[in-house]
Symmetry: C2
Subunit: 597 residues, 2 copies
C-alpha cells in the first residue's frame, strides 16, 4: 500500500516565491491568484486525487484495460466512477476558456494541479491530459462552428480527445504516414487507415471521443509537407449536438504494456470515417505541433510526478525500516538497528530524489508560466521572449525531466531493497509507469536532435544566448552572498562550460552533422543540468529572503538552501563529463560498419 | 518474438586472447582447454539455451510461478521438461568436482556458459545458479558424510539448493535474524523461523531441495557473531539416500514481482525442521559468505547477460526499422527513410551497449579466472594475490555490472521506441529481469560500503595498490603504440584520478565515516569505470596482435579497437564527475534533519 499526499506547500513556494505569480497580474487569470484562491484549488485537487485516484492506481495496474469482442474497451474497475466524480467536481475545466465553460485559470496553476493527478494515477491522467491537448489544437485551428460544438463538451469532460499520429510503420518519421482522407462533400472527408498507440482511443469514461487524426489528402505532396489534420468523432453529433450515429472508427486491439496499464493504448481502424479538416490542407503537422508542444511539457511533468510519489514512499520507508548501524557513531543506540535514513548512502539517494523532484517541479512550473506569458502578456516583446525560451526548453523539459524522473523512481525503489521488487509494495509500478515518458511524444533522442538541430540556433541563437545571460546574471547577483556563494560559484563554472560546449557544437555540427547527432543527448543533459542548477539557486535565494513569519519554518527554509547546496556539490559536476562527451565528437560513434556493431 | 544467439566468438576471444587460458595449464582443468574442447562446450550450451530455454522466457514471464493450496509450487509450463533435458545433457555438472560426478571444468568456462543461460532465460538460471552456490558452501564447510550424500545428487542436478538468509524484518542486517536451531541429539537440530525471498524455495523441477539456512543456536551471542549455518532438506534422505520423509519446511507464499517471474521467490516456514550444522557453531556467516561471494560474481554476470540479449535485439531492430533521414547526407537514398542504425544518436546507444556488454563480459570472465587461480594455483603467492584482487573487485562486479547492465537494457529498449514498451516485443522483460540484480545478494549500496569500508584498505591497501600498478603498467606499455595511444592516454589520466580520489577518501573517511558512506557509490562507479577502461585496453591490444589468419576478420578486429576508443572517449570522462562527487564529502548529504528530507 503506497502513500501519497499532494505537495501543496512545495507548489505554492515555487508559484509565489520563485515565479512570483503575484507580480504578473497583467496576465489573464493571474489577477485572482492570491494565496487563498490558489491554495483552495491545489488542496481541493490534492484531496480528491489522494482520496479517489491514488487508491485505484495499483488495482488499475493489475487489471489493465480490456477490449471486448464488440470492440468496446473497459477501463479498470473504479475509473468510471472516479471520472464521474472528477467531472462533477469541475476539475477538468481548470484551464478551459471561460467562453466554453472553463474556469480560465492560468496554465501554471493547471500544471501544479496536473502533477498531483499524475502522481496519484498516471493512467487516469492520460485521459484528461490528452483531452486538454486536443482542446488546445481545436482552439488553435478549428473553424468556429466546430469549436462551438465540441469545446464545451470537451472542457466539461463529458467528451474526451485523442491524438492519432503513429502508424505501424512510422512513429518518429511522420513523413511516411499513409492514412488518407478523401473529400466527400459538405466540407467532410472520409478517413481511412490504421493508427497505433492511441491513448484513450476507446474507453468507457466519456459519451464521445474526439479523435484528431493526421492523414493525407488525395493531392498531398509526399513527406511531412503533405499531412493534414482531421477531427473524427466516435459518434457523429446529431442536430442537437448529442452523440448520434456511430462513425466508421473502431478499436482493433488494446496493447499489453510494461506499465501505464490503466490507460487504454489502442490500435484504431479508420474505415472511411467521417472527419472535418482542421486548419489548412497539408499544414496538419503545424496544427498538431500546438498539441505536441503542450504534451511534451506535460510528459516532462510525468517524470516529476512519478519521482515525487516514489520519493514520498522511499522517505517513509527510510524513516521506518531499521537495518544496520550508520557510519558515524550510533544515532539510535537503544534500538536494535538504525533507521535507513541514518545511513549516508541511503540519504544520498533520498537527497538526489529530493533535488531532482523539487528542482524539476520548479522548472516545469516556470515553463508553464512562460506559456501564460507567451499567450497572454500585453507586451509583444515579452510574449516573443517567453516563446523563445519556451521553445528552447520544451525538449529539455520533456527529455531531461523524464530521464531524471525515471532515474529517481529507480533510486527510490532501491531504498526499499528486495521489498521494492515486490509488486504489492507499489514501487515497481512507479518505475514502469515512469518509463513511458522517455519514449512517447517524441523519444528523448528525438528531443535532443530537436534541441541541437533546431532550437539552439533558432532566432539566430538569441533565445539561447539570452537564457545563458539570465543565468549568468543570477550567478553574479549571488556570488558575494554569504549563504548562496557556494551554490552560485559552481553554477557559474557550469554555465561557462555549457556556453563553450554550445560554441564547439555549433561549429562542429556545421562541419559534420554527425557531431551534432552524436553529442545531442549529452548536450541536452548538460543544458538540463545547468537549468536545474539555476532554478535551485533561485529557490535558495527565495528561501534566504523568507523568514518563519512567512508561513515556513526556518528549518524548512534552511532545507531548501541545503538541497541547493547538495545539487551544486553533487549534481553540477556531471557537466564535466557531459561536456567531454559532446566534444568527443562522432568519429568513434560512426567508425564501425553497421553490420559489425 | 525476441532473438538470441550465444556470443561464442566473443567469449572465446576473451578466454584465449585477453585472459590467455592456454598459458595457465598449471591450473586444474586448464590443461584440457584447447580451442576444440572449449568451443564444443560453449557451442553446445549455446545451442541448447537458444533452442530450449529462450523460447520459454516470455511465456514464463507471463505465466509466472503458482503456489497450490497444498503448498506445492509449479514453475511455468515447459520449465520441467527443459530441466530434464538440461540434466540429461549433463550441463549442470560443468564445474562440479569430478569426485562428485562433475566435469571439473574451470570456473572461467562455467562462467562463460552461465552467461548464455542467463541471457536466454534468467529465471531458469536462478535454479541452477543457486544450486551451484549451495554446492560451493557445502564443499567448503560440510562434514564428509554430508558431502557424500548430497553433493553427487546436487552436481547431477536432480537435487537443487537454496540460500535462506532474509527474514521479514532483516535483509542487509543479518545480525537481527531470529530463526533458531535447537539440538535434538544425533547431531541434528530443529530449525524454526520464517525466511523470505527464497529463490527456488519450492518448485517442481527437482526430486529434493537442499536449503542452507542461517539460524541461531540457543547459546548464540547476539548479532552476526551468533549465526550458524544449517542444511535442511525438503525430504529427509532415507537409508538409501533417496528422498524419504517430508521435513517440516513449507512454502507459505510465492511473491509477485516486477520481473524474474519464472523464478519462484518463496516465503519459507521452518517449523522445527530437521537440519544439520555446517561448519562451526556461530560461524555461519563466514560459511555463507563462500556462497555469497560466488553469488555476487554471478549476479554481476546477470547484468552482462541481460545487456547482451537486449543489445542483440536492439541491434536487429536498428538494422531493420527505417525512420527519418540520418544527419550526414542520405545513406540510403532509394529507400523511403534510413535505417535507425544510420542515426548518430541511435548508434551512440548501440555503441554504449556494445562497450558495456563486451567490456563487462571480459571483466566477469577475468574475475572467474581469478577464482580459478585463487583456488588452484600451485604458487601460494599467486593464490593470495588473485584472492586479494578478487575480493577487491567482487563488489565492483556485482554493483557496477548490474547497474550498467540495467542501464544498457533501458537504452536498448529505447531504440525500439514505443514498440519497446509493448510487452509482446520482449524488451520490457529484459529491463524488469535486469532490475533485480541491483538489489539481491546485497543491494548495490551495500556493495559500495563493502568496497570503501573493507576492501580498499584490506591487506594494508596492497591489493588495491597492486591493481592500480597493473593498470598503470598496461598504460605505460601502450602509450607509444600508434593505434592504442589514444585509448591508453585517457585511461592513464583516469587511473591517476582514481588513485587521488582513493587517497582523499581514505583520509576523509578516517576523519568522518560519513564521507566514506556518502561517496561510496560514486567511488565504486569510479573504480568500475576505470576497470572497464583497463579491460578495453587489453582487448584492443589483443586485437592489434591478431590478424585475419587467427580466425577473425580484420574488420572484426578493427571493431574491437574502435569500441575501446569509443569507451575511452565517451565513458572514461565520467570519472571526472564521479571523482568530484566523492570529494564533495558528506556535509550536504547529512545536513537536513531526517524529518525534513
Amino acid at each position: 500500500m503506497t502513500i501519497y499526499s499532494a505537495p501543496t506547500q512545495e507548489s505554492w513556494f515555487v508559484l509565489r516565491h520563485v515565479i512570483g505569480i503575484d507580480a504578473h497580474s497583467r496576465l489573464p487569470g493571474y489577477e485572482q491568484m492570491d494565496e487563498g484562491s490558489v491554495t483552495a484549488v491545489l488542496e481541493g485537487v490534492g484531496r480528491m486525487v489522494a482520496d479517489v485516484l491514488a487508491p485505484l492506481n495499483r488495482a488499475g495496474d493489475v487489471q489493465g484495460c480490456t477490449r471486448h469482442p464488440d470492440g468496446s474497451v473497459s477501463t479498470p474497475d473504479g475509473f468510471r466512477d472516479a471520472w464521474t466524480q472528477w467531472v462533477e467536481a469541475g476539475w477538468p475545466t481548470l484551464e478551459g476558456d471561460p467562453a466554453y465553460g472553463g474556469m480560465g485559470l492560468p496554465k501554471v496553476i493547471a500544471t501544479a494541479a496536473a502533477e498531483y493527478v499524475l502522481s496519484a494515477n498516471q493512467s487516469f491522467e492520460t485521459y484528461t491530459g490528452l483531452t486538454a491537448a486536443a482542446i488546445a489544437a481545436i482552439e488553435a485551428s478549428a473553424p468556429d462552428d466546430i469549436k462551438a460544438l465540441y469545446l464545451p463538451r470537451m472542457v466539461e469532460g463529458i467528451w474526451s480527445g485523442t491524438m492519432n499520429l503513429t502508424e505501424p510503420h512510422c512513429g518518429t518519421d511522420l513523413g511516411l504516414l499513409r492514412t488518407r482522407a478523401e473529400p466527400i462533400g459538405d466540407g467532410r472527408y472520409a478517413v481511412t487507415g490504421t493508427k497505433i498507440f492511441i491513448t484513450g482511443g476507446e474507453q468507457d469514461l466519456t459519451e464521445n471521443i474526439v479523435h484528431l487524426v493526421l492523414a493525407r489528402l488525395p493531392d498531398a505532396p509526399p513527406g511531412v509537407r503533405g499531412i493534414s489534420l482531421f477531427l473524427v468523432p466516435k459518434f457523429l453529433p446529431d442536430d442537437a449536438g448529442e452523440p448520434g450515429a456511430r462513425n466508421a472508427v473502431s478499436c482493433g486491439s488494446v496493447e499489453h504494456k510494461m506499465g501505464l496499464r490503466g490507460s487504454a493504448t489502442c490500435a484504431m481502424d479508420y474505415d472511411g470515417a467521417t472527419g472535418w479538416l482542421l486548419g489548412e490542407p497539408h499544414k496538419g503537422l503545424a496544427a498538431m505541433f500546438v498539441m505536441m508542444n503542450a504534451a511534451r511539457l506535460a510528459v516532462g511533468l510525468q517524470g516529476v510526478a512519478q519521482a515525487e510519489v516514489a520519493f514520498q514512499n522511499a522517505r517513509a520507508y527510510a524513516l521506518e525500516r531499521r537495518q544496520g548501524r550508520a557510519g558515524r557513531g550510533t544515532p539510535d543506540p537503544a534500538a536494535p538497528a538504525d533507521l535507513l535514513i541514518a545511513h549516508p548512502d541511503v540519504r544520498r539517494m533520498l537527497m538526489e530524489a529530493k533535488a531532482y523532484t523539487e528542482g524539476l517541479r520548479a522548472l516545469c512550473l516556470w515553463c508553464a508560466h512562460l506559456v501564460d506569458v507567451s499567450h497572454g502578456d500585453p507586451d509583444v516583446d515579452e510574449r516573443a521572449a517567453a516563446e523563445g525560451t519556451l521553445a528552447l526548453l520544451t525538449p529539455v523539459i520533456k527529455a531531461f525531466a523524464s530521464d531524471k524522473g525515471f532515474e529517481t523512481t529507480i533510486n527510490c525503489q532501491q531504498i526499499w531493497g528486495g521489498h521494492g521488487y515486490i509488486s504489492e509494495n507499489g514501487m515497481d509500478q512507479f518505475v514502469r509507469d515512469a518509463r513511458i515518458a522517455m519514449i512517447y511524444e517524441g523519444a528523448n533522442g528525438v528531443q535532443a536532435m530537436d534541441l541541437v538541430g533546431r532550437k539552439l540556433g533558432a532566432g539566430q541563437g538569441r533565445p539561447f544566448a539570452r537564457y545563458l545571460e539570465d543565468i549568468s546574471g543570477l550567478v553574479e547577483g549571488c556570488r558575494d552572498h554569504p549563504v548562496l556563494a557556494d551554490i552560485a560559484m559552481p553554477l557559474g563554472a557550469s554555465v561557462e562550460r555549457l556556453a563553450d560546449t554550445a560554441t564547439w557544437l555549433a561549429q562542429a555540427g556545421t562541419d559534420n552533422p554527425d557531431d551534432a547527432g552524436a553529442g545531442a543527448t549529452a548536450f541536452l543533459h548538460l543544458l538540463g543540468t545547468v537549468a536545474l542548477g539555476a532554478i535551485w539557486l533561485r529557490m535558495a535565494r527565495a528561501a534566504t529572503r523568507l523568514t518563519a513569519s512567512d508561513g515556513y519554518s526556518q528549518a524548512w527554509l534552511d532545507a531548501k538552501v541545503e538541497t541547493a547546496r547538495f545539487y551544486a556539490a553533487r549534481m553540477l559536476p556531471e557537466t564535466l563529463a557531459l561536456a567531454a562527451k559532446v566534444r568527443a565528437g562522432s568519429a568513434s560513434v560512426m567508425a564501425i560498419p553497421a553490420n559489425l556493431i
